[in-house]
């Protein structure tokens, strides 16, 4: 993927209005001061360069617009407001007509279809200054992968305008749920980040929990009761072949996560009522005990370079967050607010830890710096838990379960300002999401 140089991004920022500059500034300013004015953009239907491309020309534009709109950083100007007629990718852009409807960014494209092959071209414009924002790009692929091509375009647009990596061409593995609370059926599923292209990876004959993507997005760790006891399995997403990783007799294992290298798995074992954290070489099966206390130690998560692990422990008397070396040893507590803290997940940028907090009968998803400072709660509900980070560290997906006898689980996402909260559409109920890295 070709990325725009920083110089070009700066040129664009300078050309924008005052309000837009505010949200193009450093991310932290945007987050903490909450001064976002979503940047208005337009994505007219792409030009269909071949007769077969007519449907795709509209569909691509709609997916790109939905990706950008869904960030909360951008605001789509609907096509009903358009004055300019867009029909020729190579014709000069009539900037005054886009300016007149207050569009600040414009994405134009063209698509051609030949048999199963699709070719997509696009350009991004800074309407205010009337300039190209980076070079045009083209993607080629196949018709059944058209949504990925749209996500790739949207990732590129997002990156060019925000200066950050995108997250649209990514997937989420999660637990798909049906049935009432006392007869809940669960199976693993994988989908595009926006809920499209669902595939089921297991059936619901055995309880399955908490799938976690590998760093390359091709495998999933999860916990299954198919032996009658909770054990950790690793599943290949392409072939759905799976194998048990840890099967010590008389033990239960759960809460697995990959190391950033994909070679090591960190997880919990319960034995004799005590739960501790272990790491295991995924190839040799050799494991190392990392904690050794009578407390509950679980939910481990590596930092991006794999040298440290954040986890939860009730060694102080209630669930709190700690960080230790990836080899175990002394841990330092990082959570000190009121309430209980669990399920910490290190952000892919390395700067924040997302967590679940319980306080005063409510559940929250929150973030804090890795030294425990600057804690911010992003959500509040009857039951929110289990955060997972988008590949660029901008958005967190999590499980929300509703109250009472009809209680059901669904996937939600929230950006790290806490401003853009939305439900992720799934065919059935959903829980325990794990976000993949950007696809290659």
């Amino acid at each position: 993927m070709k990325f725009l140089s920083i110089c070009l991004a700066l040129v664009f920022a300078v050309g924008l209005t005052q309000g837009a500059q505010a949200q193009l500034g450093p991310l932290r300013i945007t987050i903490e001061e909450g001064i976002i004015r979503p940047l208005p953009f337009a994505v007219p239907n792409f030009q269909a360069e071949t007769g077969e491309a007519g449907q795709l020309a509209g569909d691509l534009a709609r997916v790109i617009a939905a990706d950008l709109q869904g960030t909360g950083v951008f605001r789509e100007i609907p096509s009903s407001a358009f004055i300019a007629q867009y029909s020729d990718f190579n014709a000069p852009v009539s900037f005054p007509e886009w300016k007149a409807i207050n569009a600040e960014a414009l994405v134009t494209g063209a698509v051609s279809v030949s048999g199963k092959n699709v070719n997509v071209k696009f350009r991004v414009f800074d309407v205010v200054s009337g300039t190209n924002l980076g070079e045009g790009l083209q993607f080629s692929g196949t018709t059944d992968g058209w949504r990925r091509m749209a996500h790739k375009v949207a990732d590129e647009v997002y990156s060019r305008i925000t200066g950050e990596g995108g997250y649209f061409d990514s997937r989420v593995v999660y637990v798909s749920e049906t049935g009432p609370k006392d007869d809940r059926k669960k199976r693993l599923a994988v989908m595009d980040y926006d809920g499209a292209n669902v595939r089921y990876l297991t059936d619901s004959s055995s309880l399955v929990l908490a799938p976690r993507f590998s760093p390359t997005g091709d495998r999933v760790l999860y916990t299954s009761y198919e032996s009658g006891f909770p054990r950790i399995y690793v599943l290949d997403i392409g072939s759905v072949q799976r194998r048990v990783l840890q099967s010590g007799d008389g033990t239960m294992s759960f809460a697995p996560r990959f190391s950033p290298s994909g070679q090591t798995v960190v997880f919990s074992i319960s034995q004799g009522g005590n739960t501790d954290i272990y790491s295991m070489d995924i190839n040799s099966g050799q494991s190392v005990r990392l904690t050794n206390t009578p407390a509950i130690e679980t939910a481990p998560s590596y930092n991006p370079d794999g040298s440290q692990i954040v986890f939860e422990s009730d060694r102080s008397g209630s669930q709190q967050l700690y960080i230790m070396s990836a080899g175990g040893g002394e841990a330092r507590r990082i959570s000190f607010g009121e309430g209980r803290y669990g399920t910490p997940v290190w952000s892919p940028r390395g700067d924040l830890v997302a967590f679940t907090k319980q306080h005063a009968g409510r559940f929250h998803i929150g973030v804090m710096r890795t030294d425990g400072s600057e804690e911010r709660l992003l959500t509040a509900s009857f039951l929110d838990e289990g955060p997972t980070w988008s590949p660029n560290g901008r958005v967190i997906m999590f499980t929300r379960e509703t109250h009472g006898e009809g209680g059901a689980s669904a996937l939600y996402s929230v950006d790290i300002t806490g401003r853009v909260l939305r439900q992720v559409q799934t065919q059935e109920g959903g829980s325990d999401p794990s976000w993949s890295p950007l696809q290659q």
């Binding site: 080629s140 198919e226 009658g228 759905v240």
Partner: protein, 173 residues
Amino acid sequence: MKFLPMTLLVAAVALSACTNPNRFGGDAAGSGNPTGGQPLNGIGDGSANDPTSAAYFNQTVGDRVLFEVDQSKLTASGRATLDGQAGWLMTNGDYQAVIEGHADEQGTREYNLALGARRANAAREYLLSKGVPAGRLRVVSYGKERPIEICSNEACYAKNRRAVTVLAGGQTS
């Protein structure tokens, strides 16, 4: 304007796999009896009047003990129930048991798995202290995954915070 060509590798790998119903290799028989408290078939005569039956154990002796919020310490009534279980298990030596630990929904999934393990283990340790052989008692935690009551208040939560002794037939090998 110059265009940079790129190729998307689109994974269409498993579209055809959907036609094979056995592709998951799932083993429903291995998933056990996760809810607990159901009379077992094929063990004893099933009649609650038969003091050697699983039904008698479940209903008359009492197959479960309950716990306080976020606790795994046995209550006085829990210990009394386990005294009865221990006596029954000592008398009916053909049975093994799996003790299932459970939590209410007020807690994160992983923590509740660990808490359920503590509860199941507390019940097991008590039974061992009363002389039940260790080889007959296994533990499993379901965390908050298998509530028997579904309301979201303490009346239901109190019944969900439990350790259930689920009988299985046959001698330990």
